[in-house]
Amino acid sequence: MDIIKIKDLSVSYGDKKVLKNLSMNIEKNKITAIIGPSGCGKSTLLSTLNLTIEENGGSFEGEILFKDKDIRSYKKDDIRRMIGMVFQKPTPFPFSIYKNLTYAPIYYGIKDKKELNSIVENTLQKAGLFEEVKNDLNMKATKLSGGQQQRLCIARALTVGPEVLLLDEPCSALDAKNTEKIEEMLLKFSKDYTIVIVTHNLDQAKRIADNTISILDGELVEYK
């Protein structure tokens, strides 16, 4: 089943067209890798999928269906709850680990301590970080190592219960060991989540992806 269907998508920043007439589908509970050289529009595609493109001054034409409904018919908040995103650079908020993970749930109205605690524990466990930090949940998140920070960011994206997780070169700032950890984790995720990962590492795409999409100069060149 395809959770996201993209038809004739063109994205532009002002006069500059970054993506041209892209059509493709993203399968539910599979890992889709988007590869291509830097500057080819991979990240733009991700930010279009969670609608942050508009806040960054871009616009898009064409059709994106999320669960067979036009993505623009959803409320922005809802889209971002259902489609989470993790960026290249680990961006822990400068609070405790616990507060990083309750930041969004509290916004969505979860006040019950027990519920918040279980969200924190669950997401940390999924991100494979729980055993490492369970005794220092009040430690500042910025004190974690780079790899741990990135896994915390993945855990934070999971706190709002998304169905799709977009990852924009999540391992580009990490060493081989941490990259391996994150890849292992993503492979486990695919039974609960749909993963779309941007990477310029072909080997990484081969290792983890069920489907691979190549983009060159804003156009789809290969899709398998």
Binding site: K89, F93, P94
Partner: protein, 278 residues
């Protein structure tokens, strides 16, 4: 002239300039310290002005309290407005033109001579709004004076927040308001406090805006916001201007400088601490 000699001359010129600035500052501080030190005593700091003419003996306690109160009101008034303006320009304003217009106004405000602000405060607050010559009128006038300084620095601090941090927050779907209160303001807290303190120090040292709006010669400690107030720079001005006591004037100047130095040191430490996050 070869590049090498030019470079050499430039270096000497920079060295001399730095030396001159340091020498002047040190000389002023040293001179005031040397002359003011002998008037400093418990009675001077915690006493009221006495003697004939008044001020030639006794202390400066009402002026110290007055200056601190003025600074507090100015900071409160200015920071609320300045932080709101900065939040609007950085996070809500979508039009480059409106943003440019706001910057223009803020810059113009920074360029207004302080005595003009004093006259403005006198006309609007003291007469038109009927607040009278009071702590409140003078505090607000000083607040208007320091508003642009706080706004510019706070806006800069907001601009330095890592874009990926803001993107991450947006990607979680939370509203801009929630992000500002829960993420941006806590993140920039120390820098904002530092900016407000520096501007507060600037307000404390100013006398022109308060002469017409709230400062009254040898006023006691104000009982309410509508009471007149005495301030250190104005006290200093009266002591020397009226030829009352040069010795007490040096003492007053020393106390003012020490308070300002303390404020600046606190602001500097906070500023360094704030940088740790970025």
């Amino acid at each position: 002239m070869s590049e090498k000699t030019r470079d050499y001359i430039f270096k000497i010129w920079i060295g001399i300039s730095t030396l001159v600035v340091f020498a002047v500052v040190l000389y002023i501080l040293g001179y005031i310290f040397k002359n003011g030190f002998k008037s400093i005593s418990m009675e001077f700091i915690f006493g009221y002005p006495k003697g004939i003419p008044i001020g030639s003996e006794g202390g400066i306690f009402p002026a110290i309290v007055g200056s601190l109160l003025l600074m507090a009101i100015a900071c409160l008034f200015a920071s609320i407005l300045a932080i709101s303006t900065a939040v609007y320009t950085v996070f809500y304003c979508k039009s480059k033109r409106i943003e440019g217009f706001i910057h223009l106004i803020v810059q113009c405000m920074a360029g207004i001579p302080s005595i003009v602000l004093g006259l403005f405060g006198y006309t609007l607050l003291v007469l038109y709004l009927g607040l009278g010559r009071s702590l409140l009128s003078a505090g607000i006038t000083l607040g208007i004076m320091i508003f642009p300084y706080i706004e510019v620095r706070v806006e800069k601090t907001f601009g330095e927040v890592d874009k990926f941090v803001i993107d991450s927050s947006e990607a979680l779907g939370v509203s801009t308001g929630y992000m500002i209160f829960k993420l941006i303001l806590p993140l920039c807290k120390t820098d904002i406090i530092s900016a407000v303190l520096l501007a507060g120090g600037f307000a404390m040292g100013a006398s022109a805006p308060i002469i017409l709006t709230g400062a009254v010669i040898f006023a006691p400690i104000p009982k309410s916001l509508s009471s007149p107030v005495m301030a250190l720079p104005f006290h200093l001005y009266i002591l020397t201007g009226e030829g009352i006591s040069l010795e007490k004037a040096y003492g007053t100047a020393l106390v003012l400088i020490i308070i300002l130095l303390l404020i600046n040191i606190i602001a500097l430490v906070l500023n360094i601490k704030g940088k740790e996050y970025r």
